[in-house]
């Protein structure tokens, strides 16, 4: 019996890690669609978001089955509760990648981003994708050192986000209000995406140590 139980817990973690890979892929593609003004790629991200939602639904079913049939206690209970939280966070990451793709689609065939801010978004995309993959890795391995790395990566995202605003607020900003509005929202999507990845890793820290790491700055 115990083995089936352990297998179910592993499957649950596997489903969440798989969601992470999916949303990392979605953000990679969405960023490329944004930078390369690629409508087809944007459409792909938009239509593939249901997959993330499906894995979330199946992860939640697994979590419910575990709670109902195995009545886990202690660490195992924390694992299942964290998985429920994590599934919500990762699904939201998928939504945010979707929002990026939608922005690319909305302005097509025009680029959303003026050339001089494109490199920042390339970087935000890279950091975001990295965070999602690391979160998946932390779910699989429960490696606390790795979990701590996410906090640092998130600082890099916050720096990029802050810098983006400096660029927008600069007197020399020559692209007017419309692109500034788009960029404001896009930068926020990347920042929130990163926050959710960190939240996932923090839940794992909580599973392992029984304690939440310090408060997440939002």
């Amino acid at each position: 019996m115990r083995d089936v139980y352990q297998e179910q817990l592993d499957e649950l973690a596997g489903a969440l890690a798989c969601m992470c890979t999916q949303v990392a892929d979605a953000m990679r593609k969405a960023t490329r669609a944004l930078l390369e003004v690629d409508l087809q790629l944007a459409e792909e991200v938009i239509s593939e978001d249901v997959r993330v939602d499906e894995i979330r639904a199946s992860a939640e079913e697994k979590a419910f089955a575990l709670l109902a049939l195995q009545a886990p206690v202690a660490t195992d209970l924390r694992i299942v509760v964290s998985a429920i939280h994590g599934a919500g966070d990762i699904e939201r990451m998928g939504d945010l990648a979707l929002h990026v793709a939608q922005a690319a689609r909305r302005r097509h065939p025009h680029p959303v981003l003026p050339a001089e801010v494109a490199p920042y978004f390339a970087e935000m995309g890279k950091v975001g994708v990295e965070l999602a993959l690391k979160a998946g890795n932390v779910i699989r391995t429960r490696d606390l050192a790795r979990a701590a790395e996410l906090e640092k990566d998130d600082d890099a995202m916050d720096d990029l986000h802050r810098h983006m605003f400096t660029v927008l607020m600069d007197r020399n900003w020559s692209h007017g209000v419309g692109p500034a509005v788009d960029i404001t929202l896009l930068a926020r999507f990347y920042e929130r995406y990163a926050d959710h990845a960190v939240a996932v890793a923090r839940r794992i820290v909580y599973v392992v140590t029984g304690q939440m790491p310090g408060p997440l700055t939002v």
């Binding site: 979590a63 419910f64 709670l67 109902a68 009545a71 206690v73 209970l77 509760v81 429920i84 939280h85 919500g88 605003f165 927008l168 607020m169 900003w173 007017g176 209000v177 419309g178 500034a180 509005v181 404001t184 929202l185 926020r188 939002v218």
Partner: protein, 219 residues
């Protein structure tokens, strides 16, 4: 001391979620007043008050954890506990968004964050959002699924307001410059997200009560 019986814990969970929603509604109400009237002290109060919502969330998680641990609930009871855990996350986020509004007020003070012509739209967004949060509180307390279904429709008003605000910003004649446009963009987004989370609270309640997503119900 033995834990309280499950039905009592479930009532307490609903009550806590209701209190969280009411607190979030109050926070956004004050944040909106601070925004419209550039009242810094009120904004500071909102920022400081967010702790209350976070504490309520911690209480929900603890109580829900106890319920799972001591009673191993199944079926509808299990859904109620899990949906309380998820809902608490949404309402905490509503509190954060009210706090973000207040932070913009504080950051721009003594300048008003909003130019006069968009204030009525924000007054309206505030009204719709606060109303949604109060309704979500009632749904959480009463588990009334018919009332819950109303929130989806109420949220449409927010989406319309949000879209209109984006059009105002994108208008080439926008005279207030980029910085104000960036503030208005983010502020509008905070209200929209606040409303979205209130809708999720209602949907979660429907799910907890019926075991189905609201779309599947003939209401």
């Amino acid at each position: 001391m033995p834990p309280p019986p499950l039905p009592q814990q479930l009532v307490e969970l609903s009550e806590l979620i209701g209190r969280m929603c009411t607190a979030a509604a109050g926070a956004l109400n004050r944040a909106t007043a601070a925004l419209l009237e550039s009242r810094e002290r009120l904004a500071v109060q909102v920022v400081a008050g967010d702790e209350v919502i976070d504490l309520l969330r911690a209480q929900v998680e603890e109580l829900a954890g106890d319920a799972l641990l001591f009673h191993s609930p199944v079926a509808g009871d299990l859904r109620a506990v899990v949906s309380a855990i998820r809902t608490a996350g949404d309402v905490e986020r509503m509190g954060d968004l009210a706090l973000h509004v207040a932070e913009v007020v504080r950051m721009r003070h003594p300048e008003p964050a909003l130019p006069p012509e968009v204030r009525p739209a924000f007054a309206e967004m505030g009204k719709v959002a606060v109303h949604l949060a109060l309704k979500a509180a009632e749904v959480a307390r009463t588990r009334n699924v018919v009332l819950a279904a109303e929130l989806d429709t109420d949220d449409d008003a927010m989406d319309v307001l949000h879209r209109e605000m984006m059009e105002v910003l994108m208008d080439e004649r926008w005279p207030h410059g980029v910085r104000t446009a960036v503030d208005v963009t983010l502020l509008a987004r905070y209200y929209e997200r606040f409303a979205d989370h209130a809708v999720v609270v209602a949907r979660e309640t429907v799910y907890a009560v019926t075991g189905q997503e609201p779309d599947a119900l003939p209401i």
